[in-house]
C-alpha cells in the first residue's frame, strides 16, 4: 500500500506542477492577480506531495519491503539502518526522486521566502521552475519508477553495492544534488527576466543568495566525493578527471563565474546580459552532468548500471531546456538594456577577467569530456585521460589564481594597479620566499616551487585584503577590531573563499609533488620503509561485520625507530553480492596522511600492499571547507539575506569606506 501511495503522490505532484507551469505565467501576462497567486500554494503543495512520495520510498527501504523492485535490488535486511536509509539514493530511481525532491524544496523556499519580489517576477520564476520539475516527474514516472513492484516478493534483497555502504555516500549525493538543482533557481530567474524583458540590480540581489546556496553545497559535495573516492577506492587518488567528476566540476566552474558576475551586476548594473547567459549555462551544465551520469553514454570508473531509453529521455529534456533557454536568450537578450561602462583596470575589469578564465577553463574541461563522445559518433573510440586536463586546465587555472589577489583590492569603476601592487608587496615577498625555500630544501621540482609560491600568494592576498580593509597595523588595535567587526560579512566571505582556494592549492601541490608510494608483497614480519616511516606487517586477523566478513592486516608504524601507531587496513567480502572491497587505513600526521591498503592475498600467506605517504593531502579538502565557509559568511550578509530589500542605515555607519 505504501509504495502505491508514494507513486500516486508523485503523479499528483506532476499534475500540480503542470498547473504551476502554466496558470501563473498566463496570469503574469494578463496581470491577473488571482492567477498569479496560484504559484505559491502550488509550489508548496508540490513540495508536500514529493516529500510524501520520498518518505514513502524511505519507508519501503527502512522496513526492507523487498516486493518493491528497487528495494530488492539495492537493500538487504542485515544492512545497518543508516545504509538502508542512504541506499534510497544509492541507485538511479531513488536518486532521481531525491533530485526532484530538492527541486521542489527550492521551489517551495522561493514561494515562502521570496516575499519582497514583484508578484509577476515571482510567479514567472515559479512557473519556469515548474517546467523543469514537470519534465523530471515525467522522466521518473515513465522510465524510472522507484515504486515498481515485483510479481513475487523475494525473501531477501540483493544488498547495496558495498562500495556505496559508507558514510561518505550518505552525504555526497544529496549535497551534490542541492548544488546541481540549486542552480535551477538561477536558471528560472534568468528565463523569467528574459520573459519579462526587464532586469536590474535588484534581480541580481534576489538571485545571488540562491546561487550562493547552490555553490556552497556543490563545493562541499565535490570535496566530499573526492574524499570518499580517496579513502574507499584504495588507490589513494582524490581526483581522476573522470567524466562523472567533470560533470560536477563544470557546473562548479560556471557557478563560480556566475557568483562573480552577479556581483558586478548587483553593484554596478553592468554585465547584465552576460550574467543571464551564465545562469542559463550553469544550469545547462548541471543538466548535462545529470545526463552524463545517468545515461551511460560515457565510460567512467564511476558509471552505474544504466539503460539507453533513460538516456534518450534525459537527452530530450536537455535539448528542450538548453536549446529553449539559449533560443529565448538569443531572441530576448537584445531587448535588455546594456549595463554601465568601466575602465579595464577596475574591480569590474578584474571580475571580467575572472569570468573569462573560469568559463574558458570550464570549456576545456567540457571539450575533454565530450570529445570522446563526438569521435565515437564518427567511429573512432578514444579516451581522453588526466594528462589532457592537467595540461589544459592546469595552466589556465594557475593564471586565474595569479590574478585572484588583485581583484578584491581594486576599486570599482577605475582602479589603481600600481597602488594595488604596493599593497600586495608583502604577498609577493611571501610568494618569493616560498619559492626559494622550496628550491633550496627540495631542489629539483620546479613545479612544486611554483605551486607553493602561487598558493602563498593567494593566501597572503586574501589576508592582505582583510588587513587593508580594517587598516590593521596602521590603526590602533581597538579601531581595527571595530572595523573588522563592522566589515560587511560578504567581504569576509570573499577573503575566506580565496583563502580556501590557496589552501586547497597547497594541498594539491604537496600531495602531487612530494607524495611517495610503494607497492609491495609482504609476509608477516616483513618491514617496509617509506620516507621517514617504517611499517612492520604484524599479522592478519579475520573478523565478522554485520553483513560482511573481513580480513584485517595489522601494521605497526614507526618513525625514526619510535612507534607512533598501528594501522589496520582490511579487505571486506560481502556474500550477498559476492563482492570484495578494500578498506584503507589512514593515519593523520599534521596535514599529511599515511595510507595503507591491501591487494589480493596469495596462497603462500603473502599479501599485496599499497603504502602511501601523502603530505598536506588534508589541505585539499580543508580548503574546500574554508571556501564553503566563506560562501556561508557571504550568505549571512544582511544585504543578501533573502528578502532583505536594503541594508539598514544604522549598521552602515560602522562600515569603512571601500
Amino acid at each position: 500500500m505504501i509504495p502505491e501511495l508514494g507513486h500516486y503522490a508523485l503523479v499528483l505532484a506532476l499534475a500540480i506542477a503542470l498547473v504551476q507551469s502554466t496558470v501563473p505565467l498566463y496570469g503574469a501576462r494578463m496581470r491577473d492577480a488571482v492567477l498569479i497567486r496560484v504559484a505559491e500554494p502550488a509550489a508548496l503543495a508540490q513540495f508536500a506531495f514529493v516529500a510524501f512520495s520520498f518518505a514513502a520510498l524511505v519507508g519501503c527501504y527502512v522496513t526492507s519491503d523487498f516486493s518493491v523492485a528497487t528495494v530488492f535490488e539495492n537493500s538487504h535486511s542485515t544492512m545497518p539502518l543508516i545504509y538502508k536509509f542512504t541506499s534510497v539514493w544509492g541507485n538511479h530511481e531513488g536518486s532521481m526522486l531525491l533530485w526532484v525532491l530538492i527541486l521542489a524544496v527550492f521551489g517551495a523556499l522561493v514561494a515562502a521566502f521570496g516575499r519582497n519580489m514583484p508578484a509577476t517576477l515571482k510567479a514567472t520564476v515559479l512557473a519556469v521552475q515548474s517546467w523543469v520539475a514537470s519534465a523530471f516527474y515525467l522522466f521518473i514516472l515513465v522510465t524510472s519508477n522507484p515504486f515498481l513492484r515485483l510479481p513475487e516478493a523475494p525473501f531477501e534483497g540483493r544488498d547495496l553495492n558495498p562500495i556505496l555502504q559508507d558514510f561518505g555516500l550518505a552525504v555526497h549525493p544529496p549535497m551534490l544534488y542541492v548544488g546541481y538543482v540549486g542552480f535551477s533557481i538561477s536558471f528560472s530567474f534568468a528565463i523569467a527576466a528574459l520573459i519579462e524583458g526587464r532586469i536590474d540590480a535588484a534581480w541580481a540581489r534576489w538571485v545571488r543568495p540562491w546561487t550562493l546556496v547552490a555553490w556552497i553545497f556543490l563545493t562541499l559535495g565535490i570535496a566530499m566525493g573526492s574524499f570518499w573516492a580517496y579513502y574507499t577506492l584504495g588507490w589513494g587518488g582524490w581526483w581522476y578527471w573522470d567524466p562523472v567528476e567533470n560533470a560536477s566540476f563544470m557546473p562548479w566552474l560556471a557557478g563560480t563565474a556566475l557568483l562573480h558576475s552577479a556581483l558586478v551586476m548587483e553593484k554596478r548594473e553592468a554585465l547584465k546580459i552576460w550574467t543571464i547567459l551564465l545562469a542559463i549555462l550553469t544550469f545547462s551544465l548541471s543538466l548535462i552532468g545529470t545526463f552524463l551520469v545517468r545515461s551511460g553514454v560515457i565510460t567512467s570508473v564511476h558509471a552505474f548500471a544504466s539503460d539507453p531509453t533513460r538516456g534518450v529521455f534525459i537527452l530530450a529534456i536537455l535539448v528542450l531546456f538548453i536549446g529553449g533557454g539559449l533560443a529565448l536568450y538569443a531572441w530576448r537578450a537584445p531587448l535588455l538594456k546594456a549595463g554601465g561602462l568601466f575602465a579595464p583596470i577596475s574591480r569590474e575589469g578584474a571580475l571580467v577577467l575572472n569570468n573569462l578564465f573560469l568559463t574558458v577553463a570550464c570549456a576545456t574541461v567540457f571539450f575533454g569530456t565530450i570529445y570522446p563522445l563526438v569521435t565515437e559518433a564518427f567511429g573512432t573510440k578514444i579516451s581522453v585521460g588526466a594528462p589532457f586536463f592537467n595540461l589544459t586546465f592546469g595552466p589556465l587555472f594557475a593564471l586565474l589564481l595569479a590574478v585572484v589577489p588583485f581583484g578584491p583590492l581594486l576599486a570599482w569603476k577605475r582602479g589603481d594597479l600600481q597602488g594595488v601592487m604596493q599593497r600586495l608587496t608583502a604577498a609577493f615577498v611571501l610568494a618569493l620566499v616560498g619559492i626559494t625555500a622550496v628550491c633550496i630544501v627540495e631542489g629539483r621540482p620546479v613545479l612544486a616551487a611554483f605551486g607553493v609560491g602561487l598558493a602563498g600568494f593567494v593566501i597572503a592576498g586574501a589576508i592582505t585584503d582583510i588587513v587593508e580593509r580594517t587598516g590593521m597595523w596602521r590603526a590602533p588595535f581597538p579601531v581595527a577590531t571595530r572595523r573588522a567587526i563592522g566589515l560587511p560579512r560578504s567581504a569576509w566571505g570573499a577573503a575566506f573563499a580565496h583563502l580556501g582556494l590557496g589552501i586547497s592549492l597547497l594541498g594539491v601541490v604537496g600531495e602531487t609533488q612530494w607524495g611517495s608510494e610503494q607497492i609491495v608483497s609482504l609476509r608477516p614480519g616483513d618491514k617496509v620503509a617509506l620516507r621517514h616511516y617504517e611499517f612492520t606487517f604484524d599479522r592478519t586477523v579475520p573478523r565478522t561485520g554485520p553483513n560482511y566478513q573481513e580480513l584485517v592486516a595489522q601494521f605497526t608504524v614507526r618513525r625514526n625507530g619510535e612507534m607512533i601507531g598501528v594501522m589496520q587496513p582490511s579487505k571486506r567480502s560481502f556474500p550477498a553480492r559476492e563482492m570484495t572491497t578494500t578498506e584503507a587505513a589512514l593515519m593523520t600526521r599534521g596535514f599529511g596522511q599515511l595510507y595503507v591498503s591491501l591487494g589480493e592475498a596469495a596462497a603462500d600467506g603473502a599479501i599485496a600492499v599499497r603504502l602511501y605517504h601523502k603530505p598536506l593531502v588534508l589541505m585539499i579538502w580543508l580548503g574546500c571547507v574554508v571556501m564553503a565557509f566563506g560562501g556561508a559568511l557571504s550568505l549571512s550578509d544582511r544585504r543578501l539575506r533573502v528578502g532583505a530589500p536594503k541594508p539598514a542605515r544604522s549598521r552602515a555607519v560602522l562600515q569603512p569606506a571601500e
Partner: protein, 157 residues
Amino acid sequence: MTRKQRRLVLISAGVGVLGFAAGLVMWALSDSIRFFNSPTDLVENHVAPGTRVRLGGLVVPGSVVRGKDLNVRFEVSDGNRAVPVTYQGILPDLFRDGQGVVTDGTLDASGVFKADSVLAKHDERYMPKEVADALKQQGHWKDDTAKGMGAGTRKTP
C-alpha cells in the same frame, strides 16, 4: 579611454585567453589521447609496438597467472581473439575471471600487451561500454549479459 577602446581591450583579452586555451588543447590532444582497441583490432590491425593504446575485453577464465613481485599475466578476449597481458601491481577488487576490464599500455614486439593500468568497474553488473560494443561486434553478445547489465535479475551462482 573611449568606449571603443574599452571594448577593444575587452575583446582582445577574450580572444587572447581563448586562443591560449585553444593552443593548449591542441597541444595536449596530440599526446594524451588513447585509442580504444578490442583484442581483434590489436591483432589484426597491427598496432605498432610501443604505441600507447587502451585495450578492453573479458578476462579469459583460467588465464590468470600470478608471479613474483606482484607480476600478473592474463589474457583478454573479445570472443574472437585473445591477447596476453602482463601487469605489475595490484589488480582492482573487481578483477576476476570473465570480468570486463579496460587496460592502458603498449604492445611489445612479441605481441604481449604490457599494461600500466588495469580498470575494472565499481559495479559487478556493469560492463565497460567499449567492451560491450566490441563483444556485440564479434557476435558474442548474449542476452544473459545484457540482462546482467540492466536492472534485471542476476544469474544465480
